[in-house]
């Protein structure tokens, strides 16, 4: 899987972020993306081959696997990574739009196209809210789809064509559970970082606004 593009995107976003934003990029990059590529992909690589049911009935294993894993953990993890990184593109596009405008009008329209003020602030705040939203949505999805974050060793399956209730065994359940908890912890950390960045930006710009008004009044 080619994650080079996502890596380049995250590095590009780093330029236009606040300090907390950069910490968020580092956390996503190292604890989310790198752990995914380096460890998680290999754990779930042969999950279907290693899923074993105590039956010789053809088709039963396939049907049971599909019943218990409608979307595999690892696919959800990959989707989450992509969706959570994408709102940052809004900021990149807005900055590019500003720079294009300055070039078209051939004069300085902004103090600095990269400085987070005015319209860019709204875009940045929107991207933060979207990021948080996606993280929460995926956490809830994980929880609902798999009844919590536990991976059981044994699941009992009675879907046709399995003749009766059949024991099916999941491979490496403990290792999968450890990495799922790791993912949940990282997601929670990312949500906390996004919340603090949101709070910091709102606080900073409301103080700025208030001071401007105060100075105008005095004048």
């Amino acid at each position: 899987m080619s994650w080079g593009f996502l890596r380049d995107l995250l590095s590009g976003v780093n330029k236009y972020s606040t300090g907390i934003g950069r910490i968020w990029v580092a956390v996503v990059f190292i604890f989310h993306l790198l752990v995914y590529i380096v460890a998680a992909e290999n754990i779930w690589k042969y999950e279907h081959d290693e899923f074993e049911c105590n039956i010789k009935q053809p088709g039963c294993e396939n049907v049971c696997f599909d019943h218990f894993f409608p979307v595999s953990h690892i696919s959800l993890w990959a989707l989450q990574l992509i969706m959570v990184s994408t709102p940052s593109l809004l900021v990149v596009f807005h900055v590019a739009y500003r720079e294009k405008r300055e070039r078209r009008h051939n004069r300085k329209l902004y103090r600095s196209p990269e400085e987070i003020d005015g319209g860019l602030l709204c875009t940045y705040l929107t991207s933060l809210i979207l990021k948080m939203g996606f993280e929460i949505v995926f956490l809830v999805l994980f929880y609902k789809l798999y009844n919590g974050f536990k991976v059981p060793r044994l699941v009992k399956c009675d879907v046709r064509p399995c003749p009766n209730t059949v024991d099916c065994y999941i491979s490496k359940p403990t290792e999968k559970m450890i990495f799922l908890y790791f993912l949940v912890a990282t997601s929670c950390l990312c949500i906390v970082l996004n919340l603090s960045e949101l709070g910091y930006l709102i606080f900073k710009y409301s103080i700025k606004c208030y001071l401007k008004r105060y100075i105008k009044k005095r004048q």
């Binding site: 752990v35 590529i37 380096v38 460890a39 065994y169 403990t174």
Partner: protein, 262 residues
């Protein structure tokens, strides 16, 4: 495996490290990450496929494998390497923050700023003193803690560092006690001992670096306390040297500065 990106990030930190820190980084990349990617993955690649139990009972092999290997050696090492490399990012962030501040001073046209070119700020190597010293020392401390925690977790989970050939398993649904055989136990033991040895060397290097930094700190403090008069002169000499260098650079880069300020 995408360790190249981690290499890029940590390579930048290398510039601001002490000599022992540079040795540590080299040991980390060559003897740990490279060995992990090039050799260990091949050895552990077929670990579940070739884990064979003496039973035809479906599910027994899965359950026994999960019982004896809650988390695979290779994943534990990968996590250890990621956690051990992360504190260096603290230093990278601190350096980036300092550079950002200096660039802001330069852009404001601050008279106190001794740089004549923004490129100079980008290429400057910061000395490990002041707040950067604290960040650097904390990063070494965290590295030590992570190394120790992972080594202990390893020892605790696998009852030592040896990989046995045979394991006896009686977890349900295995009918009775069943013999299960691990694939390539000797090769795995060799690699495990190698990785543990290199971890220990890294711990020693970190301890040495910590002692070096603490010694330097206390020596500097005692120097300041002992010779307060000489210190400003010494600083002035360095400043004059830097100023002379800046003048030389500014003479040759006059156009760049004018272009930037307009």
């Amino acid at each position: 495996m995408d360790w190249g990106a981690l290499h890029t990030i940590l390579g930048g930190v290398n510039k601001h490290s002490t000599s022992i820190g540079k040795v540590w980084l080299t040991v980390l990349f060559i003897f740990r990450i490279m060995i992990l990617v090039v050799a260990a993955e091949r050895v552990w690649g077929d670990e579940q496929d070739d884990f064979i139990c003496n039973t035809l009972q479906p599910g027994c092999k899965n359950v026994c494998y999960d019982h004896f290997f809650p988390i695979s050696h290779i994943r534990l090492w990968a996590l250890q390497l990621i956690f051990v490399s992360t504190p260096a990012l603290l230093v990278a962030m601190h350096v980036a923050y300092r550079r950002h501040e200096k660039k802001r001073q330069f852009r404001k046209g601050d008279q106190k700023c001794e740089y004549k070119d923004i490129e100079e700020i980008r290429k400057q190597r910061f000395r490990i003193e002041g707040s950067l010293w604290w960040t650097y020392t904390s990063s070494i401390f965290f590295r030590l803690v992570f190394e120790a925690v992972f080594m202990y977790a390893f020892y605790f989970m696998y009852d030592g560092f040896r990989m046995p050939r045979l394991m006896k398993c009686n977890a349900w649904p295995c009918p009775n006690t069943v013999d299960c055989f691990v694939s390539r136990p000797t090769e795995k033991t060799v690699f495990t001992i190698f990785m543990i040895a290199v971890s220990s060397i890294c711990i020693l290097l970190n301890v040495a670096e910590l002692c070096y930094l603490l010694t330097k700190f206390f020596l500097r403090r005692s120097k300041k306390a002992g010779n307060p008069k000489h210190h400003p002169n010494h600083e002035n000499k360095e400043e004059t040297k830097q100023n002379e260098m800046n003048e030389l650079i500014s003479d040759s880069c006059q156009n760049t500065v004018i272009g930037f300020s307009s």
